[in-house]
């Protein structure tokens, strides 16, 4: 990219922004004035706005390892120039002499090939005509924090978006750390987009509050709408789903992943029946999180008339008795999410039918679900195991012995999610068979601090020795050793995501009694591609020194109950240039640590600190020095404003300024 950026601006006459009256808006940033002055197209480094500008070039991808849907080839977030959108749009209607048609046409045609958001962001910074051309041609809009930019601004700049990814609440909201009603409502976005993006096709929302009314607007505003993905959202019911089903005639995917659908049990609307009759273009239907019964006949009929369906994940109102019938109607399925993997009372024994169904589904590569597993049904999946790339048994309470015949057949497995009820021995079996494993997640059956540990360092070492291609791991355990973590760092050098959750807080290495510093240090040192890290156990500032020293590619860091002093936080903020998302809870980092990151916060998407030693004073200082940061102090209850102890800090860069929809328990500094 660096080679081309100067070309377009060599001839000052080509600078279309000659008429100063257009650009000298009183809010115009130094960068725009410079562009207009025909000297350098690049704004001076000293301008704080330029920091924000380049900073927002940063991370665009929305993966936190959790959603397979969000790894769209998406672009970065909107640019922080003061009013470029307004300026640009005011020129669009002007007569031809103000546009160099040839250049713009060429540019637009070339830019169409740029899909990566980073490249697009870089291109848009070159000069005004590149900025405009890029804005006109961007099709996929990624907004990693819905409060970083206002809907009007985003829509004003990008005029022909077909695909939107929008993320709302910070991840710690999943763990009850943010009271209900905090924000991230989809309503203002859909209200703004409905009239402006007639060709919108895809929407992916994560941790947003989506109302049924929003879904109705969505369903009725975009004739080409085809893909809706909702991840960890809340606020809607089956009525909203019915609106989608009924009105989106081009619907290809309806993927509802881990949402909080607010119907009371069994009180839902029969949304499945709302799909239009006749052949549909449905390709993916995921609704395991919907907690109401569905019309089983309607579902079967829908599946039968959706010949393009390759992914179906049903909820636990579907038992095996219905499952094999659905599978029979969709033999082309590649991704199957079973409902309850048992038969309901009085239904009968479907083992034979189920096994036949799995034998017939030759295309299956991914199986999940397995709720309420009845062990006698597990053998039904044996015929499909050899082809499996992905297997999610994390809702299945199975023992080592029950896992064995399954896992020993899964030679091609690349993704495996499981409960720790399979014990270290189960993990040893995984290590012995799944040589191509890329992603492993081991969840705790008993998610409490003082439960007996089921998996341990033994399992971790076994995995590291058997699955050398491992790229991503999430491992819950009660205790761990440095040696095991070091072993993993040496064996699995391709690790990109390393999330170790030692559930007992402040637990040291259980063999040596030492802190877990060396283990995590080895991970950041040896795994050169590491971008995401979650630490736990007893950790001193030394661990953070290691992270700051070696974690040069780390983008997401999760810290809980760790560190000794502000030094720990300083090491990370000073040492990790790529750090985008930092979430910290219950660690002794205070204002000094907080202020040590002033130079970097504009490069980050957000910082979360809860139950640390940060004070309101420190936060106010940050707000004072970084005018484009929104600093939120979130309280669990409406307490005395002057209380010294501060509960939660959530801060993020934003072009929109402090939001106007903050609830009473959020104070914006």
């Amino acid at each position: 990219m660096k080679q081309i950026k100067w070309y377009a601006c060599k001839n000052p006459k080509k600078n279309i922004f000659n008429p100063p009256s257009v650009l000298f808006h009183r809010e115009a940033s130094p960068s725009i004035r410079l562009l207009n002055s025909k000297t350098s197209p690049i704004p001076p480094p000293s301008s704080p706005l330029r920091e924000v500008q380049f900073a927002m070039l940063g991370n665009g991808d929305c993966d936190d390892g959790n959603d397979d849907r969000c790894s769209l080839n998406t672009c970065g977030i909107a640019q922080p120039n003061s009013r470029p959108a307004a300026a640009a749009s005011s020129l669009v209607g002007l007569p031809p002499p103000f546009f160099d048609q040839v250049l713009d046409n060429v540019l637009e045609n070339v830019l169409c090939f740029l899909t990566s958001h980073r490249d697009r962001n870089a291109a848009s910074l070159v000069c005004k005509s590149w900025f405009l051309a890029e804005a006109q041609t961007r099709l996929e809009l990624f907004i990693g924090n819905c409060y970083a930019v206002s809907p009007a601004r985003a829509i004003g700049r990008f005029r022909c978006i077909q695909s939107l990814v929008l993320k709302g609440k910070p991840r710690f909201a999943d763990f009850n750390l943010i009271p209900l009603g905090w924000g991230a409502r989809f309503s203002p976005w859909i209200a703004a987009m409905a009239p402006s993006y007639p060709s919108l096709q895809r929407i992916c929302l994560k941790r947003m509050t989506v109302a049924d009314a929003d879904l109705v607007i969505l369903a009725t505003s975009f004739p080409s709408f085809r893909d809706l993905t909702l991840i960890c959202c809340d606020g809607f019911t089956t009525a909203g789903l019915a609106a989608i089903a009924e009105n989106c005639r081009q619907l290809r995917s309806l993927d509802l992943i881990e949402n909080d659908v607010e119907d009371d049990d069994d009180d839902g609307v029969d949304w499945v029946s709302c799909f239009p009759p006749g052949k549909t273009c449905l390709e993916s239907l995921v609704f395991d999180c919907v907690g109401c019964a569905v019309n089983l006949e309607a579902l079967e009929s829908l599946v039968a008339r959706s010949p393009s369906l390759w992914r179906l994940r049903v909820n636990d109102y579907i038992s095996v008795g219905r499952l094999f019938r659905l599978m029979a109607r969709a033999p082309q399925l590649t991704h199957l999410g079973t409902g309850s993997f048992s038969s309901f009372d009085g239904e009968g024994d479907f083992r034979a039918s189920l096994e036949s169904a799995f034998m017939a589904s030759k295309s299956l590569v991914c199986i999940s679900g397995f709720r309420d597993l009845a062990p006698e049904y597990l053998p039904s999946i044996y015929p499909a195991c050899a082809n499996l790339i992905s297997l999610n048994l994390s809702y299945a309470l199975i023992t080592t012995d029950q896992l064995k015949p399954v896992i020993t057949r899964c030679h091609n497995l690349q993704t495996f999610w499981v409960l720790d009820s399979v014990l270290d021995e189960g993990l040893q079996m995984v290590a012995a068979t799944c040589k191509n494993l890329r992603e492993l997640r081991v969840f705790p059956l008993d998610a409490t601090e003082d439960s007996e540990g089921s998996v341990s360092d033994v399992g971790l070492v076994a995995i590291s020795e058997g699955c050398k291609k491992l790229q991503s791991i999430l491992y819950f355990c009660q205790t761990m050793t440095n040696a095991a973590v070091v072993a993993m760092s040496n064996n699995c050098q391709d690790l990109v995501v390393f999330r170790l959750c030692i559930m007992g807080r402040h637990r040291p290495d259980h063999l040596t009694g030492e802190p877990m510093d060396e283990g995590f240090g080895a991970i950041v040192k040896n795994c050169k591609n590491l971008t995401r890290l979650a630490v736990s156990g007893l950790l001193t500032d030394k661990a953070f020194a290691y992270i700051g020293k070696y974690g040069k590619l780390v983008r997401t860091l999760s810290v809980a109950f760790a560190g000794n002093s502000d030094l720990g936080l300083r090491y990370v903020l000073e040492g990790c240039p790529k750090l985008q998302k930092l979430e910290i809870r219950d660690s002794p980092f205070g204002d000094t640590g907080l202020l040590s990151g002033i130079h970097h916060y504009y490069n980050m998407r957000f910082l979360w600190m809860s139950s640390c030693k940060v004070s309101v004073k420190g936060c106010k200082e940050v707000a004072r020095r970084l005018p484009h940061m929104v600093v939120e102090v979130i309280r669990d209850r409406l307490e005395d404003d002057n209380s010294v102890a501060m509960e939660k800090l959530y801060m993020y860069r934003s072009l929109a300024g402090p939001r106007n929809d903050a609830p009473p328990f959020v104070k914006l500094l």
Partner: protein, 197 residues
Amino acid sequence: MIIDTENLRATELRLGLPGADEEAPDRPARGCKRLMTETGSEESGSRIEVLEDDRGPEATVSSKAQVVGWPPIRANRKNVFPGRKAEAEAAGGGGGIYVKVSMDGAPYLRKIDLKLYKSYELLREALEDMFKCFTSGDFSSVTLGGGGSNYAVAYEDKDGDWMLVGDVPWRMFISSCKRLRIMRGSDAKGLSPKFLN
């Protein structure tokens, strides 16, 4: 404060891996902290600082003394295996232990959840804060224990006997305590002076 919490912990029987548990001294319970900040005084502010250990204040949830949001598992996953939870609750893990607290001379009773407090000291402070408004005269007279105190706290155990608070390990106490009574020091003669001193 009289209770030697360090030694007390050493004598406590616990299930846990050897060398595994190096947990910090008990954190202030959420209820305690809230009461203290409501007084708004500088002293309570600093008292919070003293009570907090390096790990910062936490919100505690009553059952099993778990911390909010830890371990980081989403609710939809946590709720999937209710069998486990039911076992835990049967073992006394779930729900709070609510006992009535009466104070001599006070017009009405209070009820507290003993599970919110991890030690006698925290309980003492909570009671002090709760009942200081009922004492005539200066608040400093309401010190439960320590020199110059003129109140004592007693509890009624499972057998119906009234015992002075502070003699038995904390966990044994909360499992046998049925109600609490804050009595004037003069009435506490004859009971063990341990809690008072």
